[in-house]
Amino acid sequence: MKKTIQRRLFTGALVLMTVLGSKPSYAVNYQALVDADVRKFQGYFRKEFPQLKLGQYADGVYALDEDARKQWKEMEEFPPYELDVEAGKALFNKPFANGKSLATCFPDGGAVRGRYPCFDEKHKQVVTLEMAINECRVANGEKPFPGKKGDLAKVSAYMAYISRGQKINVKVNSAAAYKAYMKGKEFFYAKRGQLNMSCSGCHMEYAGRRLRAEIMSPALGHTTHFPVFRSKWGDLGTLHRRYAGCNENIGSKPFEEQSEEYRNLEFFQTVMSNGLNFNGPAARK
């Protein structure tokens, strides 16, 4: 009798230890949370612009205004970024001092636009294409390309060009990735600056409406076509250059290019455009 009780107690203790020691079965499905956000976000635009198909949002504001679209199409016949793409190709293949090159770092000849931005689980941060380009340079003993334009934008434009048509399918698979995503989401919706405006205020609620002479572009598809050659800039610039310009416009101090804030924002915005195709570089007013 005594032995039976002892055996049962031992077995019970073993079962308890196994249950307490095992991982919880209610692990959060972050991708499902994000997918629900994507459906809601894209659904908002479907309701606002029922005449547009999802793929058309990759053309930005030119999907909304026929006159502007005609002008843009003409501009794209002799694209102002053509020479920059050629220069980017040369820079991509130019050997570093150690004999390697950017081509050594990236698979598929550099046609990897569709892989960025992504979340680096090892370093717990969002990695953008521009960041990866500079990481490759630094890893090979070269100085990073400066800033948000110039050579960095040229290489990015070349890599975007040879990646045209790749589908956006950014994954958010971990707690750390979801945290970065949520930070980007907060940045997108929170009002800031002296004008107390947000990304969503202009590019969701005012999308398609005029702000002085300009039509506000829809946020859906914002990240598909960068880097862009903006007529206003007179040269090529990255998405983070555009972010900084927007922040300036609303009276907010811009963040540095490739800052954590802008990388998280790019991560969130690109996730929202899941299902669209990358079609950069592009010309913009």
Partner: protein, 103 residues
């Protein structure tokens, strides 16, 4: 609901009330400039610094160096108000940003 939120955020950012008023004890320019700089740093830490605050502080310092105390006070007060409004904005948005998501 959106109108209520808009009103709320405007009230938060209105340059009135004790939160945004310059400290009456800070009557000298160097003191005002120091206060403005401290407030600017707080807003910057929260990631909400406004575009022109640092420029206003710089201009206030230059005016003081040129003996233009009144002008310096005016600029430093503006910077202080901006920085405090930016911090109020940051704190308000940290709590309420999800309510800004359009339906």
């Amino acid at each position: 609901m959106k109108k209520v939120l808009l009103l709320l955020s405007m009230v938060v950012l209105m340059p009135s009330g004790s939160v945004l008023m310059a400290d009456p004890a800070a009557t000298t320019s160097p003191n005002l400039i120091e206060q403005a700089e401290a407030a600017r740093k707080e807003a910057d830490t929260l990631g909400y610094e406004w575009r022109d605050t640092a420029k206003l502080i710089k201009s206030a310092k230059e005016a003081l160096e040129n003996g233009q105390k009144e002008e310096s006070d005016k600029l430093a007060s503006q910077a202080l108000l901006q920085a405090r409004a930016a911090t109020a904005q940051a704190k308000f948005m940290a709590k309420n940003w999800k309510m800004m998501i359009p339906e």
